[in-house]
Symmetry: C2
Subunit: 417 residues, 2 copies
Amino acid sequence: MADRANELKVDGTRLWASLMDMARIGATAKGGVCRLALTEVDRAGRDTFVRWAEAAGCAVTVDGIGNIFARRAGRDEALAPVLVGSHLDSQPTGGKFDGAYGVLAALEVVRTLNDARLETLRPIEAVSWTNEEGSRFAPAMMGSGTFAGEFALADMLARTDAEGGTTVGAALAAIGYDGAAPAAPRPVHAYFEAHIEQGPILEAAHTAIGVVTAIQGIRWFDCRIEGMEAHAGPTPMAARRDALLGAARLVERVRAIALDHAPDGRGTVGEFRVHPGSRNVIPGRVELSVDLRHPDAGALAAMAAALGEAVAAVLADSGLGGALEQIWYSPPTAFDAACVDAVRRAAAEVGAAHRDITSGAGHDAKYLADICPAAMVFIPCKGGISHNEIEDADPAHVAAGCEVLLRAVLEKAEEPG
Amino acid sequence: MADRANELKVDGTRLWASLMDMARIGATAKGGVCRLALTEVDRAGRDTFVRWAEAAGCAVTVDGIGNIFARRAGRDEALAPVLVGSHLDSQPTGGKFDGAYGVLAALEVVRTLNDARLETLRPIEAVSWTNEEGSRFAPAMMGSGTFAGEFALADMLARTDAEGGTTVGAALAAIGYDGAAPAAPRPVHAYFEAHIEQGPILEAAHTAIGVVTAIQGIRWFDCRIEGMEAHAGPTPMAARRDALLGAARLVERVRAIALDHAPDGRGTVGEFRVHPGSRNVIPGRVELSVDLRHPDAGALAAMAAALGEAVAAVLADSGLGGALEQIWYSPPTAFDAACVDAVRRAAAEVGAAHRDITSGAGHDAKYLADICPAAMVFIPCKGGISHNEIEDADPAHVAAGCEVLLRAVLEKAEEPG
């Protein structure tokens, strides 16, 4: 078995062609993809995947939240399957690879096994999760979260789009993907997901494979800084209570907090609104957001504490008022050590340059990790850019990532019950 | 003459009553004033001033830009007059004192001289300048600037309001203040203007009188800082090109530049727009304004040079792009030493706590100083707040400022030709 598996090779050309075929569904003028969840375009993408999966001999089922499972039978159908997948929906101005790569790489694993007439002990299911992006319907990772029991199905089906016109349930029915299978946890032996990195690390390191060990935890904060509006001319520097000065100092502090937790810590001020925003008026109020991330829950908590101290110090030093509020916490996800090892070993076996990496973005694998051993394979994307129509990836990396995925899946699929 | 002048006292109660009467014209619900230039409300304010001035025995003339001159004859009508005044128009949400105080204090000077039956050598003219605020029609200080020859009359008459519907010329005609007198420079022996400080210095120092030595020069800049938008999660701190970080550092530098030129230097970042302004995206671009002020032209030029160096240094240190552009320069105005001395002496004579001060805001006196010796008298305003309906001043300060104005005017009005 091990010998035959080592001789396997995925068909990189076929995988690339499938990616490009899928990218034509919802293609944008700028070379990207707009395939919002549960639209007619999403239906076309799903239909294509289902047709390809059935052509590959899979049994396709759809669950109540629209997740699609394309199952390749194992030698022992009573054993829990290995799931492999990602999502087919995109951002409004998304790219060809975010999500689609993981789904079609899973399909390529199935096709490669078929070509080799290689039966695995456990069943393998290529999965397309519903609405990972959360662009049309909140929350993101809706399908995987419902499958993992994180979200209640009825609640999800009642969610409406931004216009408030359509529910998830109605949209699923309209495109014919309101499936009969229970959208609920069931035994899964392992889950693997291939994805573009959506960051610059692998490209900068000339590394084809990222062995994803964890998904960063995230804490989101809203901060309000209040000073006193006053005229720019008559007000002496010493008499000012400049809310923008305090906010500027906080931006520098947020950076310092992230650097104090290098290399994994991240700190970002993204929203930043200055009032009244008039050229000759000293700003009286700034509202800003802080996004802190770290793959270690303790380190992330320490960063949050440091942020609280930084806000207090900045306000006190600058004679300002204000408040800091944590509005969201997503705990870090540490992937299963054995699954991560399987990915690392697979990368070594195929001779691909690889390194451990943490994911800064959320993925369906986050929720799967709550109910089964899971891990991810990253490949570089050009310039680290994603959620953008210019999102791009190297065909060699696309093939290499699938090669790694195949070997990791095979290892778990041969584990006895 | 000097003995009799020293015995004079303005009638603070009468001046306050006139201020409150004028404040009823265009009164707002929040206790402020909305008397936009050349509106029917402005006409009512002008009519009231003209009626009071004629009742005080003045000969009233109006020039082609609507400036009103209420002339009290001198013993030698051939000598150039002393002008005293300010403006009656207000901001949309203005206060009772900004402008009106200077006009009605000038009228109180005339009334006080009348009560004392004291004739001056030179004529004295109480003046109300048209459209100082610039809220309805640009530019600000339109009347005094035209009188001083800074603006061409025909150009000013053709200016339209923000809606583009009404010209200054049509608005003047509609309210009956398109006067026959030339709106052009003529011999003026001296000009004095009383005004609220519009800043916190006098109040903080418990000082009733500001002896205004100069109006700050102003340089306005637009600055653009460009980095690279990227996702907050996957992008390592070291790989970021965060435009907001650069902009935050520039805010701190602008403050340092002003402090390097203490106590008179001022540096303000008032406009500050962050793109794309999304919570989990590293900002790719910030547009901000810088307002630098100093009463000394050389110091202001040095501040501008330092700003250029600061922008270059911040961009280089932070790996960012961008540009800095000066969009406006208003040179400093140093008031006439003899007029300033007259104000300082007058403050000493009336026993008022006083200190030298520079004006951070523009005033009609700025343009008058181009054609004649000029100076200003400041009084405190509550909390340093103006351009606000809660603008307030202490009746004792209102009276003291007028007392000082009276003595400074008398000194210049007795100077032989």
